[in-house]
């Protein structure tokens, strides 16, 4: 069950088309998976539409330039069914197939090879173009990411399975936004492990044990 959602202000910004692109992509993918946020967005859009079309503006008489534009528009052909490009709906790791939310399918083809990070942890980088870099991270059962905090923010969406991080337990569809106030240690005890999609804007900063040695290089792995 989904218990972690984007906060309402971010949903509003998303619905208005005003949030940062990386965030918009994450929220869009979450909304694909979350009926509750779908409903929220529908309501927010209806509100925004109401504001936009509220009759507070003075209606000026239509000038000829405007009428000219309208007549040009009405001469345009009707667009037939919009073609939709078929993207890969799944990504694969070791013979396991994971279905992606619609918003992320576009990036299946931009996903690099899986590499083993440490222990039971796998990573596949995703090139989001100008939006930045993302990663699919797969934790096998018992897999854990060393305890870390963030210099910037880390957005995570659970695509499949469950994991916990010492702060809470996360299920499929859960969206979390972490920043440098959060220190966490993600690990999965789910039988089928856990696949997450994550975008960080700065490398992770490891806070405990031997993993601290990774800090100088963490930009190589976790960004």
């Amino acid at each position: 069950m989904i218990s972690f959602h984007p906060n309402f202000a971010d949903l509003q910004r998303f619905s208005a088309g005003n949030c940062e692109t990386a965030m918009a992509l994450m929220i869009s993918a979450h909304v694909d998976m979350c009926p509750q946020c779908q409903q929220d967005c529908i309501e927010i859009q209806a509100e925004l539409a109401k504001e936009l079309f509220s009759p507070q503006t003075v209606i000026e008489p239509l000038d000829s330039q405007y009428l000219d534009m309208v007549s040009k528009i009405t001469e345009l052909p009707i667009v037939d069914n919009l073609e939709s490009i078929a993207n890969n709906a799944t990504i694969e790791l070791d013979g396991k197939f994971f279905e992606l939310p619609r918003a992320l399918r576009k990036y299946a083809k931009n996903t690099g090879n899986w590499s083993r990070l440490v222990g039971k942890l796998w990573q596949a980088p995703v090139d989001l173009g100008d939006i930045g870099k993302a990663n699919f991270i797969y934790m096998e059962k018992g897999g854990r990411v060393p305890e870390h905090t963030h210099k910037g923010t880390e957005m995570t969406l659970v695509i499949d399975g469950q994991y916990g991080d010492g702060i809470a337990e996360y299920d499929c569809g859960d969206f979390t936004l972490m920043n440098n106030r959060h220190k966490h240690l993600p690990h999965s005890e789910a039988d089928d492990g856990c696949l997450v999609f994550t975008i960080v804007d700065q490398p992770l900063h490891f806070t405990a044990g031997i993993a601290r040695l990774l800090n100088p290089f963490s930009h190589l792995f976790f960004k």
Binding site: T21, I42, A46, L52, T74, L76, L128, G129, D130
Partner: protein
Amino acid sequence: MEMVQDTMSNVWQKSHLFNAEKGSPSTWIFTIARNIRFDMLRKQRNRKEDLCSDDLWPILCEQTADVNEVSLDHQVSMDEIETMFQSLPEKQKLVIEAIYIDGKSQQEVADELSIPLGTVKSRARLGLQRLKEMVKDDD
């Protein structure tokens, strides 16, 4: 101005894709304008990546549902309503015609037909209910 024109062009060219069952026209137009603005801003910043607004908000455009809105698809023509109306029982037809077509008050109808006001109300209600069911079944 370009944004207005693009939005209106889109509304015009895609109007047949609009599904009133799934949302109000104003929300639909808002989402089109929002998407166009998003794509324009990205273009202005020379973003080459092919992420576009349709990738971010497709479902929402399709799913915006407003139950209070009358669906255009389900609109029934006047002729059809006329036929349905004619198929109502005579007594209900008479009452509905007097109230909704001639614009008489329920009391006037009761007086004219020399029947109790309660009977006028129930005939009107039953008749309308029946019409509503016929319209619904018509899809």
